[in-house]
């Protein structure tokens, strides 16, 4: 029980550090990585929490996280990031 919780804390720390890096990133593509990050690290944290807290229904939330990573990523890439010319690095 304690091991899973300790690993959950470690993964949360990883997630936060990576998020700071991603939010600072110079190009919009860096920011899109946040979707990917939550799809993997977020659902891993939820899986570990489900084990540590003894709540199997949190697995469904992890499922939604993984599903949402795909949808938000596609929405990011296809809709919002079209007119982002001035912020991009030059060729």
């Amino acid at each position: 029980m304690t091991l899973t919780f300790a690993l959950a804390i470690f993964l949360l720390l990883n997630l936060i550090v990576a998020l700071v890096r991603v939010a600072r990133g110079p190009t919009p593509a860096d920011r899109l990585l946040a979707a990917l990050l939550f799809g993997t690290t977020g659902s891993a944290i939820l899986l570990l929490l489900a084990e540590a807290m003894g709540q199997p229904s949190l697995l469904d939330t992890a499922l939604v996280f993984a599903l949402l990573a795909a949808i938000t990523g596609v929405a990011f890439a296809r809709r919002a990031w079209r007119e982002e010319a001035p912020d991009d690095e030059p060729r």
């Binding site: 304690t2 919780f5 300790a6 959950a8 804390i9 949360l12 720390l13 997630l15 936060i16 998020l19 939010a23 919009p28 920011r31 946040a34 939550f38 977020g42 944290i45 939820l46 929490l49 807290m53 709540q55 229904s57 949190l58 469904d60 939330t61 939604v64 996280f65 949402l68 949808i71 938000t72 929405a75 990011f76 809709r79 919002a80 990031w81 079209r82 007119e83 982002e84 001035p86 912020d87």
Partner: protein
Amino acid sequence: MSATLAFDLLLIVALVWSAARALTVADLFRGVVLLIVFGLLMALAWARLGAPDIALAEAAIGAGLTGALLLDAVGHLRAKREPGA
């Protein structure tokens, strides 16, 4: 007990940081991305509070749907307006 406390404090710091940054960054697109991140962190907080049903709703509605709406609005604003105004 102290392990759970560390997890909670870390999560709360991340929540407050992302909320404050979402309102203060210069670029609106970045602000919306940070709000989506905030919503997903809120879903983790609901999971921690023992409310998986709210966590589900927050992840799907609070982060996904709101994020899509706001991103659409930002794209609309960008297309509508010349840069710098």
